[in-house]
């Protein structure tokens, strides 16, 4: 199936996103909010989302946690086991910027740092979406998923404000 372009493959995933939940040492809050998105009040299955239990079946990795050193090799292995194209949604302050423990001795401090390690291991992530929140609300996770799948446009952008004197 190599002849299909990436955008075409992503379009197929848009119709049937299967997600795998990868916890790299988070506090559980984001993890239960991820589960919450599947339950009646939010019901992510409306979008065809299905929570799968093996990274081999997954299209989208829901990534939580600041990546502890102990879980690092396992996280890399899980990402390697995911077939291309891989989409990754980094959920929560920990995964996005390291959260409260962005500089502690036993964590890597967020997905951007992990990405450097992934480059060394030659693992490519085709698309990444960052979802801040501590924990990210179920709505925020759905919003992030929609953004990853290309249903909606991004709302935030880098803002530079000047004080009145300038």
């Amino acid at each position: 199936m190599k002849y299909l372009r990436l955008s075409e493959k992503l379009r197929r995933i848009k119709r049937s996103p299967w997600v795998f939940h990868l916890n790299s040492g988070s506090c559980n809050a984001c993890d239960i909010e991820v589960l919450d998105t599947l339950t009646p009040y939010f019901d992510a299955e409306r979008l065809g989302v299905k929570l799968v239990v093996s990274p081999r079946h997954a299209d989208i990795i829901l990534f939580t946690g600041p990546i502890t050193r102990e879980s690092l090799p396992k996280v890399i292995r899980a990402l390697k086991a995911t077939p291309r194209p891989r989409i990754l949604v980094a959920i929560g302050s920990c995964a996005v910027g390291g959260g409260v423990w962005w500089d502690t001795y036993s964590t890597l401090g967020g997905f951007p740092k992990l990405q450097e390690v992934l480059k060394q291991c030659r693992i490519k992530i085709d698309k990444i979406v960052y979802v801040p929140g501590c924990p990210a609300r179920p709505e925020a996770i759905i919003y992030g998923l929609l953004l990853a799948l290309g249903y909606i446009e991004q709302k935030v952008s880098k803002i530079t404000k000047f004080t009145s004197q300038s």
Binding site: V96, P132, R137, A140, K155, K158, F162, T163
Partner: protein, 177 residues
């Protein structure tokens, strides 16, 4: 007894029927399930902010940082590390920080999650080094804590000058360059 054991599980269908779909309009088609007291991302009012750094000190994850680049003092807010505790809004002396209910913050680039407030620094009239934001100085001026002459000096020059004043002979005049 036996019969009720068989029938009870089927009661689930009744519960499902009675409940229906818990909320018809679900996010993103409907409004999010948030209450008035929800704490989302903060918004910093650049007009009110004086760059005093009280929020930077209290922020548990250091999502708010203050850095100095030449003549500018930049207060940076990184939403990706924010834990949405709202302590910064509590400690802000001028209520420049308000907690909004914004949660749709997803972005494809980490840089998009950053927000910067650029303050221009006032230069010391003695040594020419930038030492304090102009807005903060203006506030100090309003309070009339010190005279304008001293206000435009950096703390080091100020203390040097005071020391010098004590060492001066009566009648000598100190010139500000």
């Amino acid at each position: 007894m036996q019969l009720s054991r068989v029938i009870k599980p089927v009661k689930l269908l009744l519960i499902a029927l009675k409940t229906g779909r818990v909320s018809r309009e679900k996010y993103p088609l409907g409004p999010p399930l948030i209450t008035d007291s929800f704490r989302g991302a903060i918004s910093i009012d650049p007009v009110k902010c004086r760059g005093c750094g009280a929020c930077v000190l209290i922020c548990p994850p250091n999502a708010l940082t203050l850095r100095f680049e030449g003549e500018k003092a930049i207060l940076e807010y990184f939403k990706g590390r924010c834990i949405f505790c709202g302590m910064c809004a509590d400690v802000c002396p001028v209520q420049a920080i308000t907690v909004t209910r914004e949660f749709e913050l997803a972005a494809v680039e980490v840089e998009d999650l950053k927000e910067e407030i650029v303050h221009v620094m006032s230069k010391c009239i003695m040594c020419g080094r930038p030492f304090e934001t102009i807005t903060q100085l203006k506030y100090v001026k309003e309070l009339k804590l010190i005279t304008e002459k001293y206000m435009n000096m950096c703390p080091e020059c100020r203390s040097k000058r005071v020391a010098k004043l004590f060492a001066m002979k009566p009648g000598e005049i100190f010139e500000i360059k």
